[in-house]
Structures are given as structure tokens and as C-alpha cells.
Point group: C2
């Protein structure tokens, strides 16, 4: 049953006027609503929220009068409160905690007369003593996601409040308190050894039954065991389980189970859930053991290739960030279109980056259903999280809550300590106790899912996030010169999806031409990252595309570079298979409208044109060209090495690729290549060359067409200059 | 009280004739003694032991008649049994275990009438199913040290039996079962927060008292607490503890403590022990955060520099291996001279390599006393230890026993999963559950001592183990071209210490000239490592030194190359400080007489001449020359860059180095360098050059002499050719 919440901030320790509160939500949104503020996403409106991060806030709600039967009890149940808080009932503190990822349950049976008030005192956002003010360093002694302290695509805006469902629930005193179904698969993957466990709220003396239903809903297993005492266990086996497969490799088969506790024929409790049978490993890419033969020898690279159900999977995907500044507003409906699009882009892996929140259950439910694997990081990013006992204590509890909640999801393919922690800007090391603690908790609670300390590990590559790397090198050349086991982050900036979208959050007087004005900078157009031109990089656009005619032209230029840049990286990473096992661009989505950044999708779900190009680059089977650079000179000799990319274990056929260029509407054939494709193996063809015509055109198109199979065709739009 | 042991092997499941057994010892040694066999170290005698590894063996001893008072009980207590075994009393199995590092205690009070027989059935040496026969792969599913399955300096000879003390002990029923003193130091290192804990065998109702004595024996702390129940705890603080320092940096201060349990004024139990207060960290070397700026970025190197009590220590030392094939024969007297020599060589760190046993207590006691830090590996080496439940279960117990036993020693500076596990010849990875388990156990039981998965980690260098690297490159050039955070293994082979020593284990007809004959090969003269000439490498000796006149000349040549080779590496590693934090040669000692190998000391404690050179290279302050190669041509321009190496935090002075060469007894001055030395910082001087005289001499000497301070002088003997 829902509660009617109010909230206020405290001034000198005293409550100010209470305002209606939306739960789940955030105190900032409640306050803004009460004040009739404009959208925080518009212009620089977010700045007025700054003071709120340092205030205490108090929620209150009357516990309703309940008529509880003798065999019933009432609980206040909440999925998560952000961030540090004390819960009181009628003035007496009953529970205090630090951390947003651990659910709360409080027995309120004694306070259900309609007169008692539940209060939750929210502490100010945590800030490490000694940290540089208003930087994400402030997050480095807490489990508060660092991103909200300010990032190159996230304003400084730190949500606080009840961010998951909170309600009063009346339950039978005698019930199943919690249940879980765990399994291991034999080496041949044709037998699942299942252990179902249930904890009871009382000493049972009955029977625990398990029913297992296959993806079609048919009962495939029914068994039961005596349940005497506070818990019950059922061990059984399922022969030839339908395995859970990721996108592009099979069906994401999900079974459902029902555990029923009965005593003397009476049903005492039922627990239900889903299970996907899969075995996931993080293995060495082919050839990575051959690295580094010279003495003195250092180690070989760390594993960076996913193996699902015994099959090596080339992981294609992206870095998922929080889809809203305020996680309390996120629902199933927030996630669904974003994840459906990820599937449409042929993605099979999302890296849930450690700077952001650990997502709500709906995210993982949908990933389970769509066959999208999840690389899940703990909330550590780009900081030196020091080994203080206070921090380790919070991290211990929060990480256990996260692992226990998520380990049931077959989509969870990899645990990871956090983002870029072993790099110079973070300065954590293999010795950091926080990371060793996370290893311990993952080992104890979910040992068969891989665990990494951080990304990148030795051999993996992160970055860069530019189209032009050096005076002479663009992203085409840079990625071809790189040699990594996985590309776990690579960015390609662009302006937002459309002029209309831009004008929805940038005031008219700042909209064009774009300069380093307050709203443009706030929405990451300038000074967002290391370079003052980031992320708009109008200088780069002008270098490759010339001066834009207008805003629409600027947007067209920007999308062109983002699209071809992302295509160049995704396809080259695939060409480096099997040494390379992974290509994840930075980033997929964004938490508010970014004027410019590296995302594929604008907030909340507005696709940039590069989505179509990335989808093409990630097709299981696709023609591809290895092209040395983006910009060519009219009259010079153009060269492209032909490839057929193949991540499919089913695709094996022969065919012919015909290559041509189109310049100014004229088609110039370059040559053909007869290829033979074998499963999950790329084929490399000849390098074809053609002299580019003398022309004033600013671009030309390389077309690869596959005889009789246009679904594998590819087109590259490249820059031309005189 | 000692037991009188007998042992026999089993044939078709039945005991053969019992023979006297020495405990601690090994079944092989008992059998050889009974058969009057010659020394297993001589020639190829070890071959006749081969069958014993596959036999079951049974020890037996009569439990003596004991008159136990009502408040007493008797225990069979044993420090360790090698390897898998069942303990029976009068035919009934009372205990079974796999693993040599976990002590055993069995209450035998009910069997102390003089008629009961204690039997220990020793299982055959463990061998992984499917492993290549007679290779160290066989050790990869057990905690049996891999070295005894055959190594390039260890014969195939797998000890079995009772390898630690075993006795009957009568104890009071009411006693302290175990006690421990743990501490943490504050950041300023001037307060030790001490927690003393004691577990009792009964529910006490008395007082637990703690006395702490400083290194001079003076009482510095006395306190007590109520002890009610099965255990007692005392928390207290010690101000300004004298810290434990390693060799070269201060005194290895050791305190002693006494815990006394009293009830009603009566002393019930006393536990005593030692403690050294120190804080050890594994940190990033200066400059290592600046590595790898190019995009895509991988991680920065792993930490490889020790920090002791807030002071960065350049670690100089060696790789310690088992000092005997049969660990049961090792005593305090085995360790003491070896460790005293390590101190004399200015070593401050020994890496106890994962292929060998975890040493007995005496080893760590002496290291504590001498200020030698220990890098302690678990028993994993050069294999893929797979994630089977059976293996993980053994490793879990054995590693816990090891950590709990050793964590009290201040000398324990680093835990490490094992040797070369992340390299292509081992093929374990960051995902290996065995390593994640070790990380977890170290975190839980000894979190403040650093832990590494293996060596080398990214940035560290292992190898090589040759004088000549390529046609054009010797070790001088190779190490100068290397750039590592630590040199954790580097070898330089030589023949054994002397002709007399050689003739003590090589039959006369094989002694000279040395060919690939059975005893020469068995003692690692040929085909020991990757190259057929290893470890004698007579071809290398001839290349640099010419044909030897006789055995004595061959030995002289070999020691010359080993000495100058080791000097080149130790000094160059020191020159690469502070980026580089460590120089550990492979290896220090050996378990039996090696005709040739990389050790500094022959079995059991016979120093090779290179010991003196390594001692000189490791002096806290020393003149040094960076010389591009070992062999020079008469008449060419010789060059040497002058250095003053300084690892001392006390040394700060100015001085003058005078460089000269001596060729055929004639001194040729090259030049002088006025240097200024600051604490713990090397000084680099000019490169001096001189034209080498035309001469027929085969060597010349570079002399560096420091005015008024001959203790810093250095001499290099280099090769000359026409």
C-alpha cells in the first residue's frame, strides 16, 4: 500500500515547510515542482539546484491504520534510499544506513494505528574530506555514483531521496522470507545441477516443492523435499536445458520456477522467479598467449574475450550510462526502448559503467529477455578510493546487496570493480583493498561469473574520443595502428540528433552560431573534456568538411564524422578478431540532453544518425573495407582492402563482392573479390586501388555490394579535397 | 614425548617389512638407509628412488603408556605430513587429509595404555589425471610443491612422509588453546593499536594479562582484561614502538609478549610470542604513473616497489628455493648460514618461490631476526591449476594454514599466488579461481600485507638466464635496453663452486672434459632448460674466454661470466631506480649439488665466487660503471659511464671517483668525476673514454676508486680480444 509522502529541507537543524513528495523520485524534483521551476534540462537551469546537495532533507508519511489479523504483520519496504539516512518512527530512530543499493525492511506492525509517522532523514551528499570542491573526487569515499558530481556529459547535480519503490506491505507471519534457484552446468552443458533454497520466517514442518517451466511454459521438472526448520533445500537435475544465448547467437531462453511451501496440505508460501541456464567465461583471445616472447618477460595480456556456453563470442556493444540524472524517475518504460534499440544495433554486450548507478531490476529483466549480456561495474570510477575502514565497510555491504540482487540474471556476464582505476588519473592499484574486497565478495557470492578489478586491464584499450588523433592521423589510421585484446571504450563525438532537438534545451540566442556560451558549455559543447573544443570540435569539422552553411549543415557534418568514425572503429576491431574480443563504444545513451558528446542516442531516446551506421557495422555478416584514412585528395590513388566480417557461427558460403566508388553521381567500378566464408571467421580479400577523379566534390562513396545478398552491402562516405 | 617410528611400503595393499623411520624425514631416506644406499646426491643414484613416489607407505608407532591426571589430556601433534594421508589408531581411521602445510592434533588420551598403535598411511604422490607423465604438470591439481616433479635444477624425486615434528604431548585440559597478537599502526607510525586474543579450551572466568617487552627485554606495557568464556581479548596501545626495519635500513626490532590466563590468582595458561611492528606496502615506483600516454590507453604497470614504514626501499635479493630435496631434513641449522650469507650480501628481500615448499618456522624466525623481508608464494608454479572443486578445497585449507602460521612474522612483506602463472607456459589468468581464492584468503586473514596474483605482473621482468642474449647482445646490453618496474628473476649460469666440490658428486670418468653424460646431465649440465647447452654453456664460455686449459680453467671462466653478468644486472637495475624497485636474481641456493645452474650458493652452503661480486654490487653505497658490453677489442675506444649508486637514506656527501683501466699490469688513468650524493638517490656522472692498447691480453680491469673511501671502490674484469 502506497504512502502519502511529504518532504522538506532543514534549515539550522529545523524543518522548513513540507511539500508533496513523489516516491520514488528525488528531493530536488519535489522542490522544483513545488517552486514551479522550469525543466532542469533547459539551458543552465540545473545551476539553481546546487545548494540542495548540501542540505539535510526529511521525508515523512503517516503509517496508515491497518487491521492486522493475528497471523499477519506489516512492513515498511523500500528498494533503496539515496544516500545516507536515518529512519524514525514517531521520533525514534529505528534504522540508519549509508548506501543507496541496499533495500530496507522494517516491521511496523506495532505502529499501524494511523497515528505514527515514518520519517526518513536524508543526509547531505557525501563528500570526501580534503577533495577538491565541486569535483568528482568528492565521491571517492562513498558508494555514491561519481557521475553526479559532474562529468563531461553530466552536469553537477547530485540526486538525493527515495529512488526505489517504498510501501507498506502486509504479510503472513508464516511465509517464505526469500528463495533462490542456483545451478551449475556440467562440462558438456547438457545437465543443470539445480539447487533451490528457501528461507522461512518460522520453523517449518512441511514440504517444499519445486516446479520448473520451460520457455514455452511447459512443466519440465517437479520435485519436492521435506522442509523442517528455518529453511529448505531442493537439489535436482535438469537434462538438456535450453541454454540462454545472447543476441545473434540463439534464443535467450528463460525458464520460470515456482517454489511452494506446504504444511499438512496447506500452502504456506509461494516464491517464483526466472532462470536462464548459461555458462559464461572470460578467456584469452586467440593469439594472446603468443604475445611478448622477448626477455625479460612480463605477463601476457589479461583475458578479454567472452565465451558463452562454450562458444567464443565477439562482443559488440556500448557503454551504458545512467539514463536520467535522477534515477528515481527511471522505470521499465525508460529502459525498454533503449534496450530494444541496442538489440537492433546487433549489440550483445553493454558495459554498465562504474561512474553511474547500478540499474533497477527492470533493466536486467529486459536484458535477460533480449539476450543482451551485461558487464556490471561497482560504483567506483576515476578516483583513488582509499582503504579507510569506514569506506570499506560501506562498500562491503553495498556490493553484497548488488551481487545478491543481480546474480540471478543470466545477462550478468562480468563483474568489474570499476572504471579506469589502474590509470594515472585514478591511481588505484592491484593492492587497493576496495578492489580486493570486491573480488572476495564476488568470489563468495557468485564465483562462476568472471570478475575483473577494472577496465582497462593490460592489453585492453580505452579511448580515444576524437576524430583527429594527431596532425597526420585520423581515427581510421589510429585504430588500425592499435593492437588490443579489446576496445572497451572508444568515443566519437557529435552534436545532438537534430536542430529541433538542440533548440529544445538551448536558448535561441545561443543556438547558432555555437560559441562557448553558458548553455552551450553546460551542455558539453566546450571545455567538456581535455580539449577546450570538446565536444563540439567545430575546428575538426571545419578541417574535414569546410565551413558549414548553417546549423543544419553543421549538424550534418558532425553526424557524418561520428558515423564514419564509429564505423571505422567497430569494423577494425572486428577485423582484429580473434586476437581482439570486444568492441564497446563510449557511450550509448545520456542522462540529459547533451549538445555534443559521444553518445549514440540522445536523452531520453532520440537516435543520432550514427545508430544506423553502427547497426550496419555490427551486422553478424557484413562486407567491409579497410581504408587508411577518411580524407582523400582528388586525383590521388585510393586504396581499400576488402573484407567480409563474420561473427555468425551459421554463416558459411561463397560469394562475390563488387567494389566501386561514386563521385559526383558517377559510378567508377574498382574490382571484384570472390570470397569464401567459414563460420565465425572473417575473410580478407585484396587491396583494390583506383585513381580518384579530379573533382570539386567534397565527398565520395565507396560501395561494396555482394552479389545476390544486398543485406551484406556496405557504403562508406569519405571526404575529398582538392 | 618422542615416538619410535617404523615405516614400510605396501605391496598389493599389504605391508612389507617395517624398517626404522626417522621423523621428521622422508620415507625415501628411511628406505635408502635401510638398504645402505649411497648418497642420493651422487651421480645418478636418485634414479633408483623413482618407484617410491607411486607407493603407499605406512608409518607406525606405539602410543606409549601414560599416566594422565584427571586434569590432563594427551595429544598426537604433528606440524605437517607430506602429502595425502589417513591416520588410524589401532586400525580405525580417525583423520584423513590432503596437504602438507596444515598441522594435525589428535586427542589420544583414550589410547595411552601402551597397547594402541598409531598408523599413518601415506598415499602416493599426487598426479593430475591426464598430465604428461614424469613432468611437473602432474603437480597441477594439488598443493604438493611442483619442483620435486623435476625442474631444471632439481631431479625428479618426490618426497613423502612426516616432514615436521611429530610427538605426543600431555597438556592440562584447562589451557590457552591458541593466542595471537595483532596490531595496526597509525599513519604517523608512532602508535601501535594492539589486539591480543586468546582462545581457551574451556569457559574461563578469570583474567587475561598481557606483558610486552621491548627488544632490550624491558617491560613496556602491562595490562589485563576480564576473561569470561571461551576466549579473551585485550585491546591496548603502544606509543612510539621501535619499528622493525630491514637489512640496510635499521634494526629489525622484535618485541616479545606474554599472555597469562589466571583464575582466582592461579595461573591457568601462558602463551608467548614475538612481534615486530612494521607497515609494509607495495607501491608504484616513481615515474610509473607516467607510462603509456598514447591512446588507446591500457592500464599502468602494477606496483613493484616495497615501502617499509613509510620509506621506499630498493629491494635487493634473490629467489630462495628449497634448501634440500627432502624438507624433512631441514632444520634451523640448515637455514641459519644461508640467511646470514644473504644478509652479508646486503640482501633485504628473498622471494620464496612458489615451486618449492613453504619453509619451516625457523626460516621466518631467522628472517625476522636478520631483517630480511620475505615475498612468500603459495605452492603454485608454471602450471594451469584448474578450477576443480576438489583442488580449490585443498588449496583453501592449505592456504589458510599457511597464512595463519606466517602472518605473525614481520618479515612477511608480500603474499603472492605463485610463479609465472600469467605466462604462456602456465596459462592461468586473472579469472583463475585458485588465485581469486588466495586473494580472498589473504584479504580475510592478513589484509594489510600486500598480495599479488603472480610474478611477473605487468611491468615486471623475468629472465633471461643466459650471458649471451643474441649474436650481438650480451647481458650488459640486454639489461640496459630493458625497462621494467622490477627484475624479479634474472639468472646467470655457472659451474659449481670448485673442482673439489664437483668431484664430490660427479664420477671421475665424467668429470673432465664435461660432456652430455648421465651424471653431468642429471646434475643439470646439459639439456636442463630450453637450450641443449644449459646450464654449462661451454660454447658461450669458449666464445668469450677461449678454450679452457683444464677443469680449473673452465671453472674460472664460468665464475668470471657469472660474476660480471650478475654485477651488470644488479647494478643496472639499481641505476633504473626509482622507476625500478627491485632486483632479485634467480636463484640463491639449491636443493642438491648442481653441476651448473644459476645459483649463488651450492648445496648445502658452498659459496660461489660470484657471491663476493654480488655483495659488492649490492652495497648501499657503491661506485658503478655503465659499460655497454662485456667483450672489447684491443685498440678500440672503450667507454664507461660513471655512477654512484646510493640506497642509503643516511649517505649524503661529496667525493671524487678516479677511473682507470689495468691492462697487462699497466695502469691507464681515464679521468675523474667529482660527485655529490644525496640520500637514497643515485648520482650519474660523465661517460669517460679511452683507447684500449693493442695487446694480447684476454682481459682488462676497469677500476673505480673513491678518494678516501675505498669501501665504495669497484672493479670490473672485462674480456678483450684481438
Amino acid at each position: 500500500m502506497d504512502l502519502v509522502w511529504q518532504v522538506c529541507y532543514l534549515e539550522n537543524g529545523a524543518d522548513t515547510a513540507y511539500i508533496p513528495a513523489q516516491v520514488p523520485g528525488a528531493v530536488q524534483l519535489d522542490y522544483a515542482r513545488a517552486q514551479n521551476w522550469d525543466d532542469h534540462c533547459y539551458g543552465t537551469n540545473y545551476l539553481q539546484y546546487k545548494w540542495m546537495e548540501d542540505a539535510f532533507w526529511r521525508y515523512k508519511a503517516v503509517i496508515p491504520a491497518l487491521t492486522l489479523a493475528a497471523d499477519e504483520e506489516a512492513f515498511f519496504v523500500c528498494g533503496g534510499i539515496d544516500y545516507a539516512y536515518d529512519i524514525s518512527i514517531s521520533g525514534r530512530v529505528v534504522y540508519s544506513y549509508e548506501g543507496m543499493f541496499t533495500p530496507v525492511e522494517i516491521n511496523v506492525s506495532a505502529f499501524a494505528c494511523g497515528a505514527d509517522v515514518l520519517e526518513i532523514l536524508i543526509h547531505p551528499a557525501p563528500k570526501r574530506e580534503g577533495a577538491d570542491a565541486d569535483t568528482s573526487q568528492e565521491a571517492s569515499q562513498s558508494c555514491k555514483p561519481a557521475v553526479s558530481y559532474g562529468w563531461d556529459w553530466h552536469p553537477r547535480l547530485i540526486p538525493l531521496g527515495i529512488w526505489e519503490n517504498a510501501e507498506i506491505i502486509v504479510r503472513k507471519k508464516k511465509r517464505i522470507a526469500q528463495a533462490e534457484l542456483r545451478y551449475t552446468l556440467n562440462d558438456a552443458l547438457d545437465i543443470a545441477h539445480i539447487r533451490a533454497t528457501a528461507d522461512f520466517t518460522f520453523a517449518a514442518n512441511g514440504t517444499l516443492s519445486l516446479q520448473l517451466f520451460d520457455p514455452a511454459g511447459c512443466t519440465v521438472l517437479e520435485t519436492s523435499a521435506d522442509a523442517c526448520g528455518m529453511n529448505g533445500t531442493i537439489d535436482c537435475t535438469l537434462a538438456i536445458p535450453l541454454l540462454w544465448w545472447c543476441n545473434g547467437h540463439g534464443e535467450p531462453n528463460l525458464y520460470t520456477y515456482r517454489l511452494t511451501l506446504t504444511e499438512n496440505g496447506e500452502t504456506i508460501g509461494i516464491a517464483e522467479g526466472r532462470v536462464g541456464f548459461r555458462r559464461v567465461r572470460f578467456v584469452m583471445g586467440e593469439g594472446t598467449w603468443a604475445d611478448g616472447d622477448a626477455f625479460p618477460k612480463t605477463r601476457n595480456p589479461a583475458p578479454a574475450t567472452l565465451e558463452l556456453n562454450g562458444r567464443v563470442i565477439f562482443a559488440k556493444g556500448s557503454n551504458w550510462v545512467n539514463p536520467d540524472i535522477f534515477p528515481g524517475t527511471i522505470t521499465h518504460g525508460t529502459y525498454l526502448p533503449l534496450l530494444q534499440t541496442a538489440k537492433d544495433l546487433h549489440f550483445n554486450l553493454l558495459r554498465c559503467w562504474g561512474g553511474a548507478i547500478v540499474n533497477k531490476e527492470a533493466f536486467f529483466d529486459i536484458c535477460d529477455e533480449l539476450g543482451i549480456m551485461v558487464w556490471q561495474e561497482f560504483p567506483l570510477s576515476c578516483n583513488a578510493y582509499a582503504d579507510s575502514n569506514a569506506y570499506l565497510n560501506v562498500l562491503d555491504k553495498e556490493s553484497q546487496s548488488i551481487i545478491k540482487r543481480l546474480r540471478k540474471h543470466p545477462s550478468i556476464a562480468l563483474w568489474c570493480g570499476g572504471n579506469e582505476l589502474f590509470n594515472s588519473w585514478s591511481r588505484m592499484t592491484d593492492q587497493s583493498l576496495a578492489l580486493r574486497l570486491l573480488n572476495k565478495n564476488c568470489y563468495e557470492l557468485d564465483p562462476l561469473t568472471p570478475f575483473n578489478y577494472t577496465s582497462p586491464l593490460y592489453g585492453m584499450g580505452h579511448g580515444s574520443y576524437v576524430f583527429q588523433y594527431t596532425e597526420d592521423t585520423d581515427v581510421f589510421g589510429a585504430i588500425q595502428a592499435a593492437h588490443h585484446t579489446a576496445y572497451t571504450e572508444f568515443g566519437m563525438p557529435s552534436i545532438c540528433a537534430s536542430e529541433e532537438y538542440l533548440r529544445s534545451f538551448i536558448p535561441a540566442d545561443e543556438a547558432y552560431p555555437l560559441h562557448d556560451t553558458p548553455s552551450v558549455a553546460a551542455h558539453h559543447g566546450y571545455h567538456a573534456w581535455m580539449h577546450p573544443e570538446s565536444w563540439l570540435y567545430q575546428n575538426t569539422l571545419e578541417r574535414y568538411c569546410g565551413k558549414p552553411a548553417d546549423l543544419a549543415d553543421l549538424i550534418r557534418q558532425s553526424h557524418w564524422l561520428q558515423g564514419e568514425g564509429y564505423r571505422a572503429i567497430f569494423e577494425e576491431a572486428r577485423r582484429q578478431k580473434p586476437y581482439c574480443g570486444m568492441a564497446l563504444n563510449w557511450c550509448y545513451n545520456e542522462p540529459w540532453p547533451c549538445l555534443a558528446n559521444n553518445s549514440l542516442i540522445n536523452y531520453p531516446h532520440v537516435k543520432k544518425p550514427s545508430c544506423d551506421i553502427v547497426a550496419a557495422a555490427c551486422r553478424p555478416v557484413a562486407a567491409s573495407a579497410r581504408i587508411g584514412r577518411f580524407q582523400w585528395v582528388a586525383g590521388e590513388l585510393f586504396a581499400a582492402e576488402l573484407w567480409m566480417l563474420n561473427d555468425s557461427y551459421d554463416a558459411a558460403f561463397t560469394g562475390t563482392v563488387r567494389a566501386s566508388i561514386i563521385v559526383g553521381g558517377v559510378i567508377y567500378p574498382i574490382g571484384n573479390w570472390d570470397f569464401t566464408l567459414t563460420p565465425n571467421t572473417n575473410a580478407v580479400g585484396p587491396t583494390l586501388r583506383i585513381c580518384l577523379p579530379e573533382t570539386d566534390e567534397k565527398s565520395f562513396t565507396l560501395c561494396l555490394s555482394v552479389d545476390g545478398a544486398p543485406e551484406y552491402d556496405a557504403q562508406y562516405t569519405l571526404a575529398l579535397k582538392k
